[in-house]
Amino acid sequence: MLTTQSSQATAAHADIAAQAALRYSGEFLTFTLGAEEYGIEILKVQEIRGYDAVTTLVNAPEFIKGVVNLRGVIVPIVDMRIKFHLGEPQYNAFTVVIILNVAGRVVGMVVDSVSDVVNLAADQIRPAPEFGAALDASYLIGLGTLGERMLILMDIERLMTSDDMALIETAHLVT
């Protein structure tokens, strides 16, 4: 009984994921966090820049490094390495910030390094397993296969607007 239910659930999940994968096929920007390689939709990326002159926000979670002045716009910076306990948070001339444009907001995300832009067809995207990555599976689009490489495809918009990231007012009010 239980097994049938769970297998049904898995089937349903795979179905949803397949749809999601279809919806998301296209170009992805890949970057690394620790030993893992991630991908996000290229259309969510505004620009990539170095890490400098961050003003600390008072009483903010540790992974929110602060805010920077991006040509007159105040942009919060999140360090994904701290958030997901991946890699060593080091800040030097090679630290990279991906500036995202999600849900009408501009947010910066610190990662270890940016690799390249890849094109993934729908059949190269597999549904994400329920566990495994440091991320909650609901923030994943799926796993992309590119030869030997495996890309963890993130639904960056959902992640950045989630309560977990504490970037948006509602999230703050709920807690």
Partner: protein, 687 residues
């Protein structure tokens, strides 16, 4: 007096139109099965504001409809009735009627009496709930009848209209100009008329001439109400001048009148003279200018900082240039900001009539004094403060000032006084509404608060008790009149004032009167700030809060019962908060001693701030590492891309391109109190 009032008609028209629009949007959004209470409140407030404004300007027909609207909404808001789709329809119909009336006052076509009555009746029936079923069937039918008859009449009497025009001219009956406007607009106007009277009226507004605003009280000629003109012409003397103007235009030719219409809907005759020396510019353009100047100020500051590292002897010319640039930028900024500045008289001069009429209605004798009408304030603020101030004045009149008999019994002159005064204090503008009435009743307020199940106790300080009257639905008036007593006014007042960065403070003494002080920032875009260093961080403290800064000696800092620290300044003991502690920042190396628990010596600077009135009022001392300088900073919102941070009111970009946080001193003081409380509680728990 009438001419005086007329210059504010336009403001009221715009406000009312905004309220109507938001009301409609909210109504359409409303989920009938599970209405959001907050939205119900918002709709109610919109209706209430329209009623208030309409009352002020003597548009009694609008008051009548909105009063019905409000009564039903109030019942819904208090959850005495459940919302039905029928009610939403009735509200929308009533909203259209009010919109029509509003347009009629602006010179558009009048709404038919039948429509008004139908809408009122429908609302009343819904509110009474007695014959709910019948009302639902009846009212729309009536409305439908009304709508059905109107277009037919219009089509049939097209010629009759023009006859009316000539009659009007010949008899000098005041209907001339609306007819002219209507005639010019015939095709479009009447097309609208058939389905949405409100819209047609709104369209007519655009075409209304400066003079037409005066025709507010004259229903435009329409077949159904033609007789009313003669009745209304008795009131004509009041509108004599523009009538002449209007009929001149009419004589000159109807199309000309129509076309002149575009630029100044509803304005008075008087501003026409001023029109030659001023131009109308959209607020957007001004705001864009202000933003650009803001950026320029930042760039100038950045240059100045870079230049300050150069040798002044070698670069003397450049230094001169920099000085000049700074002065020019500042002047430019000031002039640009002053474009948005308007004297508060624009708001104040609404009140004499309001007070007079209200006093008459309530059988009270009241004198209104105004002081400091010349005080200038940002235009945006002026618009937003008008509503809250109206509520405050009405409130003072209704609840504050006693009846002449009571006053004489209390040994006071029969005539009460309400004083409106505006003045600058620091970087704030303060507007006081003071009355010499009975004062607030502490016991009544507390009793009411308890009745409403609020968390109160008898030993609350006065200030906290007074603030209770700003709670939603809180009114101690026993009778609900159309003046006040529904308990909407005050929560709107507080909400509106807070939304523009202001505060309200109340002082009251039994038997002597009440004073409500509204404290507003001068402008919303730029502030003068002191930059302070705390550890490696730089913060901006708005200069308006800063009283003084000093270097406190060790013996001047004392602890109270082992934990709270105070600083002794010229005989006063002020609570001292270390920003390092509050924000968890490591103090700069030189100031390790500034940290709490290290013997209480101070290496830093003590900044005395005044956090405004209320229970957070009074002076407070903040411990920082160093003062860096004084700047004008452009306020940027943190919420655009992030969320609100407690204790921080915004951010700004400094000369070197870094972001600095602007401190919200009021919240900081609150925070420090809360953290002390927490500290004390944990102490108690552990001991």
């Amino acid at each position: 007096m009438n001419v005086d009032m007329s210059q504010f008609f336009q403001v009221f028209f715009e406000e009312a139109a905004e309220h109507l629009a938001s009301m409609e949007a909210l109504l359409l959004k409303l989920d009938v099965s599970a209405p959001d209470l907050e939205e119900m409140n918002a709709i109610f407030r919109a209706a209430h504001s329209i009623k208030g404004g309409a009352g002020t300007f003597g548009f009694t027909d609008m008051v009548a409809v909105t009063h019905e609207l409000e009564t039903l909404l109030d019942k819904l808001r208090k959850q005495e009735l459940a919302l039905t789709a029928d009610m939403v329809d009735a509200f929308l119909a009533a909203k259209d009627v009010v919109g029509g009336q509003l347009a009629a006052h602006q010179g558009g076509d009048a709404v038919s009496e039948e429509n008004i009555r139908a809408a009122c009746k429908r609302l009343k029936q819904l509110a009474d709930r007695a014959t709910a079923g019948a009302a639902a069937g009846d009212a729309p039918a009536a409305a439908a009848r009304a709508q059905a008859t109107t277009p037919a009449g219009v089509e049939g009497e097209d010629y009759g209209f023009f006859d009316d025009v000539s009659d009007a001219n010949a008899d000098a009956v005041s209907g001339a100009s609306p007819v002219a406007a209507a005639a010019d607009d015939t095709d479009e106007g009447f097309g609208f008329f058939s389905d949405a009277p409100a819209e047609s009226a709104a369209a007519a507004v655009v075409d209304a001439d400066a003079g037409y605003g005066f025709f507010g009280e004259l229903p435009a000629v329409s077949p159904g109400v033609a007789e009313e003109i003669s009745a209304d012409s008795e009131r004509a003397p009041r509108a004599a001048i523009p009538q002449n103007r209007a009929s001149d235009h009419a004589d000159a030719g109807i199309p000309i009148t129509g076309r002149r219409a575009t630029d100044r809907p509803g304005g008075a005759a008087a501003p026409a003279a001023a029109a030659d020396t001023s131009i109308r510019v959209s607020v957007d353009k001004v705001d864009q200018l202000i933003n650009l100047v803001g950026e320029l100020v930042i760039t100038q500051a950045m240059l100045a900082q870079t230049a300050s590292r150069l040798d002044p002897v070698l670069y003397a010319t450049m230094m001169n240039g920099m000085g000049q640039l700074e002065r020019n930028t500042r002047d430019l900024q000031e002039s640009v900001m002053s474009i948005r500045m308007m004297p508060i008289a624009f708001v104040f001069s609404r009140f004499p009539r309001l007070v007079r009429e209200l006093a008459g209605k309530l059988d009270k004798q009241v004198e209104l004094k105004t002081v400091g009408e010349g005080t200038e304030l940002d235009k945006g603020l002026i618009e937003k403060i008008a509503d809250p101030l109206t509520h405050l004045v009405r409130n003072s009149l209704d609840h504050g000032i006693e009846s002449p008999q009571e006053r004489e019994a209390a040994g006071k002159p029969a005539k009460g006084t309400i004083t409106l005064s505006a003045y600058h204090q620091g970087g704030n503008v303060i507007i006081d509404v003071a009355d010499d009435g009975a004062g607030l009743s502490r016991s009544k307020i507390l009793a009411k608060a308890k009745e409403r199940g609020m968390n109160v106790h008898d030993d609350m300080p006065d200030q906290e008790v007074w603030q209770l009257i700003f709670e939603a639905g809180f009114s101690t008036a026993t009778v609900v009149t159309d003046v006040s007593g529904r308990g909407v006014g005050m929560d709107v007042v507080k909400r509106n004032i807070f939304s523009i960065g202001g505060r309200v403070e109340i002082d009251s003494a039994p038997g002597l009167g009440t004073r409500m002080s509204v404290r507003l920032p001068l402008t919303l875009a730029i502030l003068d700030g002191m930059s302070v260093a705390v550890g490696k961080e730089v913060f901006i403290v708005p200069l308006t809060y800063v009283v003084e800064s000093l270097q406190a000696a060790e013996h001047e800092i004392k602890t109270v019962s082992g934990q709270g620290r105070v600083v002794h300044v010229r005989g006063e003991y002020l609570p001292l908060t270390s920003l390092h502690q509050l924000f968890n920042i490591k103090p700069a190396a030189a100031n390790v001693n500034a940290n709490v628990g290290a013997g209480g010596t101070s290496g830093g600077i003590v900044m005395i701030v005044e956090a405004g009135g209320g229970k957070d009022g009074g002076k407070h001392a903040l411990l920082v590492d160093a003062l860096l300088g004084q700047h004008q900073v452009v306020i940027k919102s943190l919420q655009t891309n992030y969320r609100k941070v407690v204790g921080v009111s915004g951010a700004t970009i400094m000369g070197d391109g870094h972001v600095a946080l602007i401190l919200d001193v009021g919240a900081l003081v609150k925070m420090s109190r809360a953290s002390e409380d927490r500290y004390q509680r944990t102490e108690e728990l552990t001991s």
